[in-house]
Amino acid sequence: MRQHAGALNRTWLVILGILTLAGGVLILLAASGTLHAMSPAMAPAESPVLTGDLHTAFGPASVTAIVLVAGVLLGALGLLWILAQIPRKNPADRYRLHQDPASGTTLCEASVLGSAVENQINTLPGVVGSSALLRGTAREPDLTMKVTVNNRADIQDILHSINARVIPDLSTALETPLRRTGIQLEVSGRNPVSGSTVATTGTVIY
C-alpha cells in the first residue's frame, strides 16, 4: 500500500558508489606510484600528497565560511534523504473529470472512488475488511487494494471476483482502463462485520 524511495536510493547509491570507486582507484594509483610514473607532477609513492602549508590555506575567514556552508548543505541533503525513506501512501487528491472547464468543473475525490471499491470488495464472501487506494490521474489511474480475508474465504474466487467485477466497475466509472492494479491479501481470524442483515424477499401467499 505504501511507496518507498527505491528509485531515489538506487540513483544516489550508484552516484556515490561511482565517486567512492573513483576516489579509491586514485588513492591506490597514488600509493603504488603509478600516478607519478604517468605524470611526474604528481607526488611519488610514500611521500606526502599535499606539500603546501594547510594552515595558511585555511587561514582566511572566507574559506572557513565556504567549508561551513558546504558542510551544512551536505548535512541537509543527507537529512532529506533520510526523510525520503519514510514510506508514503501518495494518494491521488481529486480527479478532474470535466471536458471543458468553461462550462463547469466535475471533481471527484479519489477517496470517494476508493470507498466505493471497498464497499464492493466487502460484500464478497470471506472478506473481513479491505482498503483501496487510488493514485495517478483520472486518465491513468492506479489502484492498490488490501483485502483481509478469514479462513472461510476462497482466495481464488475472491481474486476472480475482483478481476471480473470490481476492477471493470471502476474502469466503467472512470471511463478508462486502469493503468496498474495491485492486490495485497492478508489473512485474519476476525469475523466479517458487514452482512449482519439481509433484505427478505421470500414469497408470501395470501
Binding site: L97, H98, V112, A116, A173, A199, V204
Partner: protein, 131 residues
C-alpha cells in the same frame, strides 16, 4: 411616437408589478432537477451536518452565485456506482442548465459538480414478492 394602444400596454405591464426570485429558489429548482435523475442523490438526515447519510431520494445540495441574470451553480451530488462519471455528469449539467433556464429565465453559465459519494443501487427493493 407611440400609438395609444402600445402606450396603454406598457403602462399595463408596469402596473402588474415585478416578480423577483430568491437565490434559494434557483437552488431548489436545480436540486430538484438533479434529484429527478435516477442515478443521482443527495444526503438526508443528521443534525448540523453530522450523521447525514447518502440517499438517492434526497435533493443534492446546490449553491448558486447570481450575477445579474447569469448564474453559476455548484452541485454536490451522490451518484450510482458504477456509472460512467464523465458522461453522467455532462448529461446532468445539460439537463440542469436547460431546466433552470426554462423555468426561471436565468442563464446558467457554469455548473461545478462535486461527486461526494458513490453507492451501488439496492439490488432488492426490500419488499417481498406478492403472489
Amino acid at each position: 411616437m407611440k400609438t395609444p394602444a402600445a402606450h396603454a400596454g406598457s403602462r399595463d405591464l408596469d402596473s402588474r408589478g415585478r416578480t423577483v426570485l430568491d437565490r434559494k429558489v434557483v437552488e431548489k429548482i436545480a436540486g430538484q432537477v438533479a434529484s429527478e435523475e435516477s442515478f443521482a442523490g443527495g444526503s438526508s438526515g443528521g443534525f448540523l451536518g453530522i450523521g447525514a447519510h447518502s440517499d438517492f431520494s434526497a435533493r443534492p445540495k446546490v449553491t448558486v452565485e447570481l450575477a445579474g441574470n447569469i448564474a453559476a451553480l455548484s452541485v454536490e451530488i451522490g451518484l450510482l456506482y458504477p456509472v460512467p462519471l464523465r458522461q453522467v455528469t455532462e448529461r446532468l449539467r445539460r439537463r440542469i442548465s436547460e431546466r433552470v433556464t426554462a423555468l426561471t429565465g436565468v442563464e446558467v453559465r457554469q455548473i461545478d459538480i462535486t461527486v461526494s459519494w458513490l453507492k451501488p443501487a439496492d439490488e432488492t427493493t426490500g419488499r417481498r414478492r406478492l403472489l
